[in-house]
């Protein structure tokens, strides 16, 4: 089937197309240079055309999502919608059910989402959920930062073994890249403790976060994985965590990026996720203030670093992270229901409901710091749009964030009208920031940059040969001032005029018109087969003794990945 999107105004930052009126053709699910005269014409005259969105960090599938859904029926009730001829019944606000997740991303014009935390032991569960989410492709990142084997290798600096272990685990869990959450801290949580700072040691394992992160970064570059290490640094959400954040990013300065073709797309060697939660100064919440400028300054000077923001959106949401000790601290403050899930030899997770209110000082401070990061980081290729869904807010608020970024007037009116707490002006520099994003920069932070950071070679751009993942929004940029009409921006980006996924029209005029099975994107390392076998043989006695499942049942069989997109990495 051939299509031509006619007369759209195209923003395609990867190909440096900035608001040009042109036609986009696609055929059999791929973007092509040209189509025949039989092609179906989709008239998008004077509407914004962008590659479909890529979310670089969200929590949409997996065991902790299910714990959230299981224990928050009151949240599910907030998003109920009746089934239609195309869609199934919807449920959920901050932690929507799987079908709902797919529909809502589609309506916003998204095509790919990274599931940012997959415990290998429960990878089958994550994949079952991915298969239930329609319309969006998902690349899950397995958790490595508190894995017992990883900590052993890091302590003894066995980088070759670690590389083989990563290669094996990506295959076993059908994962995409290396995710590190609160390195050594979640292991310390096994004893009800945490690590404080980057050079604190995990109990018993006698290894610091610094050693774990550096070892994983070296192994990641040795393999030449498409994505760099994806880190959630220590001390999340604690006032005064800026030095930890900067120390983490600074520590891998000397590690060179892999020269392999598979790593050729990306520029960075470390991706710092939800940087907003890691940019606080002060000693306690009493004197906390914004450290956004310092963190942004570091990122501006160091092109090997990228980040996503984790913007707070003022909603009642659910926080869930593998940083379990932090969640317990939050529980102690809020007193709301606390869920926790420790996973043997690998990780832990904590979950609590969280209310971000513009009337409370801390939420407002977090909100302002997030926006400051967006506005201080000069190169939009180094920063991505996220809410760390659902931690700082549900993903359906992305359009709202876009409207804030595009309108200084809107931000100022929120501060001036007292819509937000006065900490926004007193403790951050947000009020002094005039910068406004344009559509080209929005296209960068929500599509092109995340795709490049994840090393995708088939999406995030409208290059011929790429997947036909396209979003069209009903705005004429030549006749529309986003700075003056933030509501118009939010409305348009909430309800895509067209969302096209692999050449199939899934959304038309904000409504789901068809659904399709999502792909699971995973990385297949080639060339380490012998090393992988050796490393698995070497861990087997330990595995058999201390895991509670058999190795045969630990692996994710093909049964769970019925629709894979395999990314082959020539590691040797």
């Amino acid at each position: 089937m051939e299509y031509i999107l006619k007369n759209g105004i195209v923003y395609d930052p990867a190909n440096e197309v900035n608001g040009e009126k042109m036609d986009i053709c696609f055929k059999d699910g791929k973007i092509v240079e040209d189509v025949s005269a039989d092609a179906e014409v989709l008239d998008v005259t004077d509407k914004i055309v962008m590659p479909a969105g890529v979310d670089p960090h969200a929590h949409v599938a997996g065991p902790k999502l299910v714990v959230g859904r299981l224990y928050r029926p009151e949240d599910e009730r907030r998003g109920v919608a009746q089934k239609t001829k195309v869609t199934r019944a919807e449920a959920g606000f901050s932690i929507p059910s799987c079908p709902t997740t797919g529909y809502r991303y589609s309506r916003m014009g998204y095509g790919t989402v990274c599931e940012a935390a997959m415990p290998p032991l429960e990878a089958k569960h994550t994949h079952e959920e991915i298969n239930t989410i329609p319309n969006i492709d998902i690349n899950p990142l397995p958790l490595f930062g508190n894995n017992w084997f990883v900590m052993e290798y890091a302590r003894e600096n066995r980088i070759d073994d670690l590389a083989a272990f990563i290669a094996a685990m990506l295959r076993v869990s059908k994962g995409y890249g290396v995710k590190i959450v609160n390195p050594c801290g979640s292991e310390a949580w096994g004893w009800g403790m945490n690590v404080h700072g980057y050079d604190d040691k995990a109990p018993y394992f006698d290894v610091t976060s610094r050693e774990v992160v550096r070892a994983l970064a070296k192994a990641n570059e040795q393999l030449g994985l498409p994505h760099s290490i994806h880190i959630h640094p220590n001390d999340l959400g604690h006032p005064g965590n800026v030095p930890t954040t900067i120390a983490t990013l600074d520590s891998i300065k000397d590690i060179a990026k892999s020269t392999k073709a598979s790593a050729g797309v990306r520029d960075q060697t470390i991706h710092c996720t939800h940087a907003q939660f890691h940019s606080y100064t002060g000693n306690s919440w009493k004197d906390a203030a914004s450290g956004a400028e310092e963190v942004a300054d570091f990122i501006n000077k160091n092109p090997y670093v990228t980040c996503d923001v984790g913007q707070v959106t003022f909603d009642e949401t659910t926080t869930m992270t593998a940083d379990a000790p932090m969640e317990y601290d939050l529980f102690k403050i809020s007193g709301l229901k606390w869920a926790n899930k420790d996973i043997e030899c690998e990780t832990a997770a904590g979950i609590i409901p969280c209310i971000y209110s513009p009337k409370t000082p801390v939420s407002t401070l977090q909100w302002a710091i997030g926006l400051e990061l967006f506005l201080h980081i000069e190169n939009p290729w180094q920063v991505c749009l996220t809410t760390d869904h659902p931690n700082a807010g549900p993903f359906i608020r992305y359009p709202k964030i876009i409207s804030w970024l595009m309108s200084a007037e809107k931000r100022m009116s929120m501060i001036d009208n007292g819509e937000v707490h006065k900490w926004a002006s007193k403790r951050t520099g947000l009020a002094g920031l005039e910068r406004e994003y344009d559509f080209y920069e929005i296209a960068t932070i929500s599509r092109a940059a995340p795709a490049r950071i994840h090393g995708f070679q088939d999406r995030g751009a409208l290059t011929p040969g790429y997947n036909a993942d396209i979003a069209v929004y009903d705005i004429n940029p030549n006749d529309f001032d986003p700075s003056k009409d933030p509501e118009g921006v939010e409305k348009a980006f909430s309800n895509a005029y067209y969302t096209i996924k692999d050449g199939q029209i899934v959304v038309k005029d904000g409504d789901i018109v068809s659904t399709k099975q999502s792909h699971t994107i995973w990385t297949n390392v080639i060339g380490y087969e012998e090393e992988e076998k050796q490393i698995i043989d070497s861990i087997m006695p330990f595995f058999t003794q201390y895991y509670s499942v058999k190795w045969e049942n630990y692996q994710v069989h093909d049964h769970y990945v019925p629709n894979p997109t395999r990314v082959d990495v020539e590691a040797k």
Binding site: R69, Y71, Q82, K124, H125, K341, E344, C345, Y546, S548
Partner: protein, 463 residues
């Protein structure tokens, strides 16, 4: 127990099979197969082994339909499926109950059928650990995988659960006895506490038995929480336990390096129901201030947790989800099987991999006798006597592969070891067939003409 000589007469061994009995889902079983039958099972407990080996005992082999004389009559698959599909298609308030002894792959077909026709989907949680789910919805859910217990736990408490009898390998494989990474001496490195009115078999092998009075659970845990908060008890004894014993227990629990509370139906079904679990969860949360504690409900069927997890990610709610209006609803006392049956609401009941005839209260079963009941199961049981259509399924983990979730949420692929009897079908196939036949018989009810977002989603409302 008498000595039984080991079985030596077998054709081949299938290794790493998963036990399809309790929520422990032991995945280290070896099936000894001869002539297409499992003749012996290694590593399993007696409960699991006998379930696998005696798979042909009272086995349902052919589809049956109850005829006008009220007698079950053997029919072919088409007739049976068409009859069942007709019952479902014509129903106004269908309830699909069970699912806990089948795979998530089968549930997937079931939820599609349920959403299509507007049924209530519910599982055994409604009669067993439903209160636990309600409590965690009110209070939270601090859990850990069983491997964490094995490697770290030095204090293990069983409350209202007789694991020695109900989950025989729980203590041996995960909790009390195994040598964990930080507990190299196994049982000697751990303290086992049993809280149970009865001096059960689990209590007999425990270091400590707290035999509080029946229905005294809530008061006992409340006192324990007060003591943990540093308060002095006003009474000399609470729920039959002397005050000094409560102080001692609180101190012991707080001194744990890693403690785990396992609780069973003894806690969920005494006076106070979900509130007993509620306060136990709060207790565990309090204990985490100075120690590390978690808890795990001792789920009964091997995939009862699987259904709750499956429903949560497919529909948003764990169990008792009512689709009759075209969207999901979950409400205690309204969308649960027992309440519906006692209120005499359902007019069609499909039971899959469960036995309401044996487990439901009399009032509920009385209504089942009056309405069409479709049974998908592998064994003859009291429910077969209530059934109007009987569809013989196959045995997950023995005759058919599938996914299940252990009591702690770890997913396990249960592989196939032998072939099913020729006349039986896989559960997944049966439910898919029913779905397709129902779709032909009745147009989908309660479909919205267009998508109307919930008022909770303000940003999507005005387009």
């Amino acid at each position: 127990m008498t000595y039984e000589p080991p079985v030596t007469d077998y054709d081949h061994i299938v290794e790493n099979c998963t036990c399809a009995f309790c929520g422990c889902n032991c995945d280290d079983l070896d099936f000894l197969v001869k002539d297409g039958h499992v003749v012996a099972v290694r590593h399993a407990c007696r409960l699991g082994a006998s379930k696998v080996m005696e798979d042909m005992d009272q086995r349902l082999l052919v589809p049956m339909v109850r005829n006008e004389e009220g007698v079950l009559e053997e029919v072919d698959w088409d007739t049976a499926l068409d009859t069942a599909a007709k019952y479902i298609a014509e129903s106004v308030r269908p309830v699909f109950y069970g699912w806990s002894e089948t795979s998530t792959e089968c549930m997937k077909e079931g939820v599609e059928l349920g959403e299509y026709i507007g049924a209530v989907l519910d599982n055994q949680a409604t009669i067993c650990h439903g209160p636990s789910l309600q409590a965690m919805q009110n209070a939270g859910y601090p859990i850990q995988t069983l491997g964490e217990v094995k490697n770290r736990a030095d204090v293990i408490a069983y409350s209202g659960s007789n694991a020695m009898n109900s989950h025989p390998r729980h203590l041996a494989r995960y909790a009390a006895f195994p040598r964990g990474y930080f507990r190299q001496r196994g049982r000697f490195d751990r303290t086992v506490i049993t809280m149970d009115p009865k001096f059960s078999d689990t209590a007999k092998m425990s270091d400590k038995w707290i035999g509080f009075e029946q229905n005294g659970d809530y008061g006992f845990y409340n006192a324990l929480r007060a003591v943990l908060k540093g308060k002095k008890l006003q009474s000399e004894s609470v729920s039959g336990i002397p005050a000094e014993d409560i102080y001692e227990l609180a101190a012991e629990m707080e001194a744990a390096e890693f403690g785990v509370l396992f609780f069973g139906l003894g806690l969920t079904h005494t006076l106070g129901k979900q509130r007993n679990i509620d306060i136990a969860i709060k207790l565990v949360q309090d204990l985490n201030t100075n120690s590390k504690w978690g808890l795990t409900p001792m789920r009964g069927h091997f995939n009862v947790n699987g259904f709750n997890i499956f429903m949560a990610y497919e529909t948003g709610w764990a169990f008792g989800v009512d689709f009759c209006r075209g969207y999901g609803r979950y409400m205690m006392g309204e969308t649960n099987t027992i309440d519906l049956l006692v209120r005499k609401e359902p007019d069609c009941f499909m039971v899959i991999a469960a036995d309401p005839g044996a487990h439901f209260p009399n009032g509920a079963n009385q209504h089942l006798a009056n309405i069409p009941v479709i049974q998908i199961d592998i064994h003859w049981g009291p429910s077969t006597e209530l059934a109007d259509v009987v569809l013989p399924g196959s045995f997950i983990s023995v005759e058919c592969g599938g996914t299940s979730y252990r009591m702690d949420g770890v997913p396990i692929w249960m592989k196939k070891a032998i072939d099913k009897p020729e006349t039986c079908r896989d559960d997944e196939w049966i439910v898919r067939e029913l779905k397709e036949r129902v779709m032909k018989l009745r147009e989908e009810p309660n479909v919205a003409d267009e998508y109307v977002p919930n008022e909770g989603l303000a940003c999507l409302l005005d387009k």
